[in-house]
């Protein structure tokens, strides 16, 4: 497939929700003098919102979705499909989309589709559910995309812990025959994907008593990571990130007959500042067009594109027409670029989760 054009679907709004708990990179326990400052400078990440007390990405998505339909004025009965994209489900054997469907009190006449995806998930999820909508089979859809991966992290993982935060988002899509087409470019390099894989704990490598004990101790920080035990191969992911996404975005612009210089916003997956800056440089675009949300939120995997739109550009998106080029990349390894146009959508600033 590679390229895909979806007609008759318009993006009506996007809301992002983060947990209230904040972890400061400057206070992480494992840095020596000056190291934390250096990490903050190169990653661009000062702090991250992280889940605690059993809150999951679906809770954050629920808040985002509730706020979104309230501001849109959508009746719950009018929603005939939801898609939930995550790699951190609530339960082992139950797709979390059903949890959201129940909590949102949606009707029985509503399709629920769960997709297991990481960083490119917002783009890939939109391409999938928008394709189903394009025929008119579904009129109003909520695309939920979120991850709460930090509880799986290791307390002493110097490479990953300063990077990742948690976030849940909801995006409203509506069938509309007048809508400008949405263009996608999606690709996969699965043989390189092992750089990001957590290998133990599921069915391929079930926990043993020993490995389960080790896992718990790594999470709580009572066991040091051994030499090369970092959970991702940062160098390989980085070399992928600075080469493939810019090529994908350029190819998509060619395909969609769009001049990249005239696009209003270029929203790049917020992996880290070093990577985003390299990609911006390769695209030769004005850096002011490429918003960055890393400072306050870090890398929130699949939610990073909508979170960046809400946190950095809510005024532009909620007040007028915006043309947008996005690229999510990572998990897989895979990538998804999209080009779309919006007109005065619901796009409030980021909301903070509260229990109420």
């Amino acid at each position: 497939m590679s390229f895909l054009t979806v007609k008759n679907v318009s993006i009506k709004g996007v809301v992002s929700c983060v947990p209230p708990f904040v972890e400061e990179n400057i206070s992480l326990p494992f840095y020596k003098d000056g190291e934390a400052e250096e990490v903050i400078r190169s990653t661009g990440i000062e702090r991250r919102h992280v889940v605690k007390n059993g809150i999951t990405a679906s809770d954050l998505c629920f808040k985002a979705g509730s706020e979104l339909i309230k501001q849109l004025g959508w009746e719950k009965e009018s929603i005939d499909g939801i898609c939930y994209v995550t790699q951190s489900p609530d339960y082992i054997n139950h797709p979390t989309g059903f949890v959201l469907h129940e909590k949102m009190e949606l009707s029985d006449d509503c399709m629920v589709l769960d997709l297991f995806h990481g960083c490119p998930g917002w783009v890939v999820g939109m391409s999938a559910i928008a394709s189903v909508m394009s025929s008119g089979a579904l009129k109003r859809v909520l695309l939920f995309v979120g991850d709460s991966t930090t509880p799986w992290g290791y307390a002493n993982d110097r490479e990953s812990r300063p990077l990742f935060g948690d976030c849940g988002t909801a995006t409203a899509l509506e069938f509309n025959e007048m809508a400008a087409p949405i263009h996608f470019h999606i690709g996969t390099k699965s043989s390189d994907g092992w750089a990001l894989v957590r290998k133990e704990g599921a069915l391929r490598n079930p926990y043993t008593r020993e490995s389960f004990e080790k896992e718990i101790r790594l999470r709580e920080g009572t066991l040091e990571l051994e030499g090369n035990a970092d959970t991702m191969d940062g160098m390989s992911v980085f070399s992928f990130g600075i080469t493939v996404p810019p090529k994908s975005m350029k190819k998509l612009c060619e395909y969609a007959n769009v001049n990249i210089m005239s696009v209003d916003k270029v929203v790049i997956h917020q992996a880290n500042l070093f990577m985003v800056e390299k990609i911006v440089k390769k695209l030769k675009i004005d850096p002011n067009k490429a918003p960055i949300s890393l400072k306050e939120y870090g890398n929130v995997t699949n939610a990073s594109i909508p979170l960046t739109i809400c946190s950095q550009c809510h005024n532009e998106y909620s007040s007028g027409k915006v043309s947008t080029l996005v690229c999510g990349f990572g998990t897989g390894l895979s990538w998804g670029s999209a080009y779309f146009e919006t007109d005065k959508i619901i796009c409030p600033d980021v909301i903070i989760y509260d229990e109420k």
């Binding site: 250096e38 190169s42 490479e159 390189d192 750089a195 191969d233 940062g234 160098m235 390989s236 980085f238 070399s239 992928f240 600075i242 080469t243 070093f274 390299k278």
Partner: protein
């Protein structure tokens, strides 16, 4: 592709290293200034200057600057 030019480009990825202190046979990972961020800068430099993609394994398998140079040269 010139080895000395590669060494100069390599040296530029460090905050504070004079290219003249590096040689083809320098074990670059033993340098005190070597760290993961320099590694990423080297990967980006190779991508920009030579249009070659090197991965984590290529860095890990190379001991000297010349070995990395040869990896890049083979892929050009």
């Amino acid at each position: 592709m010139d080895l000395q030019e590669f060494i100069n480009n390599f040296a530029e990825q460090f905050d504070d290293i004079d290219a003249s202190t590096l040689a083809a046979n320098t074990n670059f990972k033993d340098l005190e200034e070597w760290n993961s961020l320099v590694a990423l800068s080297v990967i980006a430099m190779i991508d920009e200057e030579y249009d070659v993609t090197v991965k984590g394994d290529d860095i890990r398998k190379s001991t000297t600057i010349e070995e990395l140079f040869n990896t890049v040269k083979e892929r050009m």
